[in-house]
């Protein structure tokens, strides 16, 4: 069994700089791995990332994270990434990592993801360059997810994004903003190559649980949804339903 702690949208800001108590102190012993689904910062500044880094430093379990849209706001995403790496966080952007946890391999594909919308209301690469560029960014993210999952060999396979791969976890958000909250293309990539679960954030008014059309569990772990410092998900060892996974 593996115990995955997950949280997203922690939105550290300048007010968090002097906060002594780390909400992650209690993690060790309860979980084997912490996933952070982006929006680490509020304004996307280095100092905010430093505040989060100080809270993650010394946490003894592996931490894997992606960036969210907020982390890009001040054009300091590279410094944010470096800052978190310096305290041992595995920062993924269209990359995979395989960890060894109690003798089993745990693979994670991590990327920010992007909007684009879902069946019946999604953007296409057509028209003005700005629209095409929006649509294209979403498609490239999904392609990266697809190739990451295709190559990922591990006993447990997880997807970590900021944007949502499914509509189901957006329930509670205004429908008008769905195309800015996620893309069906992410879900499609997950269903093509399979995963044990997908975690995302971004949709603060959404709901926690959903699944892809192919049946992969999806969890929206945005902090306003989870209402706790993090949430723990236990995955029993066993055979995956999905044929592309290595265990089958």
């Amino acid at each position: 069994m593996i115990r995955v702690a997950a949280i997203g949208d922690v939105h550290y800001d300048r007010f968090c700089l002097n906060r002594a108590q780390s909400p992650f102190e209690t993690l060790a012993g309860r979980s084997d791995l912490l996933l952070i689904a982006g929006d680490l910062t509020q304004a996307g500044t280095l100092e905010e990332a430093q505040a989060l880094a100080s809270h993650l430093r010394g946490i003894s379990i592996p931490i894997v994270s992606v960036l969210g849209n907020h982390d890009f706001h001040s054009d300091q995403q590279n410094q944010i990434t470096e800052t978190l790496r310096s305290v041992g966080v595995v920062m993924l952007e269209r990359e995979t990592v395989t960890l060894r946890i109690r003798g089993e391999s745990v693979g994670i594909v991590g990327l920010k993801g992007f909007g684009g919308g879902f069946s019946g209301a999604c953007i296409t690469e057509f028209g003005e360059p700005e629209v095409k560029s929006f649509a294209r960014h979403g498609r490239l993210q999904a392609e990266a997810l697809r190739s990451g999952l295709k190559s990922l060999k591990a006993d447990y396979r997880f997807v970590l994004t900021h944007f949502s791969p499914v509509e189901g976890t957006l329930l509670g958000e205004r429908r008008e903003v769905y195309p800015f909250l996620g893309s069906y293309m992410l879900g499609e990539a997950i269903d093509e190559f399979g995963a044990d679960a997908a975690f995302h954030g971004h949709a603060h008014h959404g709901t926690e649980r959903g699944e892809t059309p192919g049946g992969v569990p999806v969890r929206n772990v945005a902090q306003p949804v989870i209402h706790h410092a993090y949430k723990i998900y236990n995955f029993e060892a066993g055979t995956s339903r999905l044929s592309n996974s290595k265990r089958s």
């Binding site: 702690a5 949430k231 998900y233």
Partner: protein, 328 residues
């Protein structure tokens, strides 16, 4: 409370009309949907006596379908005549127009609903829009085919005591129409204070009114007039506070400011607006952020009352883990 004049002269029709009017009131009151009478009933109650054969009720767009359901429950047949502004209901050959957008983009809103007055008609209490709102609705609705509106509006000037301040503010929906109607009224020796005419003129033409450099513009009333007074832009963000703009624009600009201002960068506050009252809702991670959002809203909307209902997001220890089974 006012007494309504008789609406029609044919006794059989009058009885039928009154019965259906009563059933309309009953259905609407039972439904608790916010509404007010406009059209002939309101004109008859607030202005000149005038015959009417149909019943016009004004409702909020989000309630229009509920109104049809409520009336249908009371035996009215209904139709969704035009989803952009009008549904209809019928009973005993009497027509009820369910209007949710009046000409000139005028909607029933909370402020209008709050100003509504009650009139008595055959022992029934009827809710009528305030005379100022009816005046603006009529001014905006006037056209070659419906000249009656113009004169219905003039009659409001002679029969009702208008609250000029309220009229001036609400006239932002159709300022040129209202100004021309007020000038027309003066030309017919109907009393309208000069200051009202002059202020409405200044509202429309702003500083140009003083320079004489006024040029006619072809722009429709409802989309102008608020941009004339340019608010000072915030030097850091380049954002402009909508001090004199139409309240409909406050919300999107405030949302933009909360997202872009370095003191907040907050995209997640739900903002509700009731005229010049702004209600902030949602959750943030700590008190400083809650205050920062409120302060920005106050700074950004100087003329508004800000109600802060933002709560602090709990960041507590998680509960029991969720077991996710793998495979079937």
């Amino acid at each position: 409370m006012r007494a309504l004049k008789r609406t029609t002269v044919n006794p059989e029709l009058a009885d039928r009309f009154n019965r259906v009017l009563g059933e309309t009131v009953e259905a609407m009151d039972e439904s608790k949907i916010r509404y007010a009478f406009i059209g002939g009933i309101a004109s008859g109650g607030l202005g000149r006596p005038r015959s009417t054969h149909d019943i016009d009720i004004f409702v909020m767009p989000e309630d229009a379908e509920l109104v049809l359901r409520a009336l249908s429950k009371h035996g009215f047949s209904t139709e969704k005549t035009d989803p952009s502004w009008l549904f209809k209901a019928f009973k005993s050959d009497i027509l009820v127009d369910v209007i949710f957008k009046s000409k000139g983009e005028i909607y029933l809103d909370n402020e209008m609903f709050g100003r509504m007055i009650t009139a008595e008609f055959h022992g029934k209490r009827l809710k009528l829009v305030a005379p100022e709102d009816l005046f603006i609705i009529k001014a905006a609705a006037h056209s070659e085919l419906t000249p009656g509106h113009w004169h219905d509006a003039l009659a409001l000037l002679t029969h009702s005591n208008l609250d000029w301040e309220y009229l001036l503010r609400r006239a932002r929906r159709a300022p040129r129409r209202v100004l021309s109607l007020l000038l027309y009224a003066q030309s017919n020796d109907i009393w309208v204070p000069n200051h009202v005419v002059l202020r409405l003129f200044a509202n429309i033409f702003g500083e140009l009114a003083d320079t004489g450099a006024v040029e006619p513009s072809n722009v429709h009333d409802s989309h102008r007039d608020f941009s004339r007074v340019q608010a000072k832009a915030n030097p850091t963000t380049g954002l402009r506070a909508p001090t004199r703009e139409h309240p409909a624009y406050i919300l999107p600009h405030l949302r933009e400011a909360l997202a872009q201002d370095p003191r907040t960068h907050e995209l997640d506050i739900q903002i509700e607006q009731d005229g010049y009252k702004i209600v902030l809702q949602g959750e943030v991670t700590h008190q400083e952020r809650r205050v920062a959002v409120e302060n920005l809203a106050k700074e950004f909307c100087p003329g508004c009352v800000i109600e802060n209902h933002i709560e602090i997001l709990p960041c507590t220890e998680p509960g029991e883990p969720e077991e996710i089974s793998r495979g079937d």
